[in-house]
């Protein structure tokens, strides 16, 4: 039997990726592998040390990747040596990698902070494997270059989030998780519908392949419907008005370190995906939705700030402030100018650090004050001045006061709104900032500054409070919160590097050509 001449395989397969390109997928492999190993170590005391080690290596890897992206432009790798757009592509650009780096840092700090927060039973129940799984989902969402793959990573981070939310199984937690789970699952299903419809229209799922194919569509294609579906799905993930109700319903129920992690990571993944799909993939539709998105941005900012003013629980107050921040980031999408996008990306970096810091500090106040209720807290400044300071820094940063990190993005966003003729939007930024300042200022006065609860007489003996933590536990509790506060102050004083990242990210969103070329290796799609 004659052997048929085999086709030239070199022409069929893409070139093998260079060893350095594996850096794009290493963060995911590390998190997933680390999570699996951590699951096997659940009976060992060093499980937490192992998880912290994995996350520290993750931070180093993503930092290396970011350095490479900044030096050489986007880095891409397509699985299985398929030629793009057929294989599943991972592509790291400045936007995704910057957020991935901050996300990895936040995850590492959360793992450190979790030591005294998570008890032995909860640790054995799988806290650290779930943490690594969640981190894998976040890294995947930031680094993938394929829409269906983005959906899969959203589901990965969602299952990790469900597990972390419900660990402890208190009544309030089960209640909060039901609402979180149902709404987020519906949101990812809407995302899947949008991706499917886009696939039906274009026949491709590769993000680098989509911009050109969308531009070549004939008139009358239902691309506007798809853009709105993306807006609904990611808006729900990002907790944008009017789809924000699940966040204040659930974020105050789990362990405080889990709230801090979620506040830092999850909504920002939604904002990232929203900016990427609408601005990079469907820019014409993003322009058409501009009026709607700016209105949503203003309403989200104001609802968040007003909601924060109406809360008496420190943690729910922090949750509403996270929502208010989402509105600021949506301005970037609504205006679509380079300046507004710089502000939005800067705000995203700032918000990841500050939301986590604020939740951690609120957690410390709850821990040392015995309650999160502003009507019953009081006098913490006298007993724990360090906690009072650690709360004040992220609180003022989230309100946008100089010299902290929140000042710069709000300045840029206000400027961008005025420059593009949206004076009312600039006013909304400032009013929301003022309301946030009032909310956090009142929280700080009530929880820390005043002597005691309102009905307590002035000479009442202080309530019995938890013992001060032992040295190691104190380091784990204060350390990450202090690092986040210091980072906030540092970014506020030296905004240059973050600004460079933000302008690189904005340029990448507005002009996808370098991204497309990196994925297709310079060849034609």
């Amino acid at each position: 039997m004659a052997v048929e001449a085999s086709p030239d395989l070199a022409a069929v397969y893409a070139a093998a990726p260079a060893a350095a390109d594996w850096l794009v997928v290493l963060p995911l492999a590390l998190c997933l592998g680390g999570g699996a190993v951590a699951l096997m170590l659940r009976h060992r005391g060093y499980q937490r040390a192992f998880a912290m080690g994995v996350l520290a290596v993750l931070v180093a890897l993503v930092a290396l990747l970011l350095a490479r992206v900044l030096a050489d432009g986007p880095v891409a790798m397509t699985m299985g040596r398929w030629r793009p757009p057929f294989g599943i592509t991972f592509a790291a650009d400045v936007f995704g990698t910057s957020l991935a780096l901050v996300g990895a840092v936040v995850a590492l700090l959360a793992a450190v902070h979790a030591g005294p927060e998570v008890n032995e039973a909860e640790r054995r129940y799988g806290f650290y494997p779930l943490l690594l799984l969640l981190t894998a989902g976040v890294m995947g969402s930031f680094l993938t270059g394929d829409l269906f793959n983005l959906y899969v990573w959203f589901e990965v981070l969602l299952i990790g989030a469900f597990g972390l939310l419900v660990i402890g199984s208190e009544r309030a937690q089960v209640d909060g998780t039901v609402k979180y789970a149902v709404l987020n699952l519906v949101a990812t299903t809407v995302l899947l519908i949008a991706i499917t419809a886009l696939y039906g229209l274009l026949g491709t799922l590769n993000m680098a392949d989509i911009p050109a194919k969308v531009a070549a569509l004939e008139d009358g294609a239902p691309i506007g419907t798809i853009a709105v579906l993306f807006l609904i799905a990611f808006g729900m993930k990002a907790a944008a008005f009017p789809l924000q109700a699940w966040l204040p319903a659930s974020y105050h129920t789990p362990r405080l370190v889990v709230s801090a992690l979620f506040a830092g990571l999850l909504t920002k993944v939604g904002v990232y995906a929203l900016l990427k799909t609408l601005l990079m993939l469907l820019p014409a539709e993003a322009g058409r939705l501009s009026g709607l998105v700016t209105a949503i941005a203003a309403l989200t900012m104001l609802t968040g700030a007003l909601g924060a003013l109406a809360q008496r629980d420190l943690r729910r107050l922090a949750g509403y402030l996270v929502i208010s921040g989402i509105g600021n980031m949506l301005i970037g999408l609504g205006l679509g100018t380079a300046r507004a996008l710089e502000g939005a990306v800067f705000y995203a970096v700032h918000s990841m650090l500050v939301s986590t810091g604020l939740f951690m500090a609120a957690g410390l106040a709850v821990r040392f004050g015995g309650t999160g209720d502003l009507n019953r807290l009081g006098g913490l400044y006298a007993r724990r001045p360090l906690v009072a300071a650690l709360f004040l820094v992220p609180a003022f940063a989230i309100a946008g006061l100089p010299p902290l990190s929140g000042f710069w993005p709000k300045l840029i966003l206000t400027d961008a709104a005025i420059a593009s003729g949206h004076g009312w939007l600039a006013a909304a930024v400032l009013i929301a900032g003022l309301l946030s300042t009032l909310a956090v200022g009142r929280a700080w006065l009530y929880a820390f500054w005043r002597n005691g609860a309102e009905d307590a007489p002035d000479d009442a003996p202080p309530r019995t409070l938890p013992e001060p933590p032992a040295r190691r536990a104190a380091l784990a509790l204060y350390g990450p919160t202090a690092v986040l506060a210091a980072a906030t102050l540092l970014i506020g004083l030296v905004p240059g590097p973050v600004f460079t990242l933000a302008s690189g990210a904005a340029a990448g969103l507005l002009d996808p050509q370098p991204y497309v070329e990196a994925v297709f290796g310079g060849g034609t799609p």
Partner: protein, 125 residues
């Protein structure tokens, strides 16, 4: 054929939205299950339906002849089925636990995390 399946997808979506608007958690979960199946059928349909032409490349040819069945939606559907199955399993257990802990499946009565009669925040400054 695509039109008929699109109609079926629409029916599934409508039924699932109707169920998800219910106050009762069990109906919401059934709605989510139906929504997942509707999406799976949707993925299958947008890949265009082709009968009895397997996606093989003939010997000696460089590419498959036109008109083959599209294998990609089937891979996507498979992934989506696995994911929605896992999530449904989790949600069912969660719903059961919620019923045990909270004693109700009526979402209007699930006010542990957000108490209905919550005292006002401090009024002064």
């Amino acid at each position: 054929m695509e039109t008929a399946l699109a109609g079926a997808v629409a029916l599934l979506f409508a039924a699932s939205i109707y169920l998800m608007l219910s106050r009762h958690l069990v109906r919401v979960l059934i709605g989510i299950a139906i929504l997942g199946n509707g999406v799976n059928l949707f993925i299958f349909t947008v890949g265009r339906l082709t009968r009895e032409v397997p996606p093989f490349v003939a010997a000696g040819a460089e590419a498959a002849a036109p008109g083959i069945a599209n294998p990609l939606p089937q891979a996507l559907v498979l992934t989506a089925i696995v994911i929605s199955f896992a999530f449904l399993a989790f949600l069912l257990v969660l719903g059961f636990r919620a019923h045990q802990e909270l004693g109700t499946d009526d979402t209007l009565d699930m006010r542990i995390a957000e108490p209905a009669a919550d005292a006002a925040p401090p009024r002064g400054y």
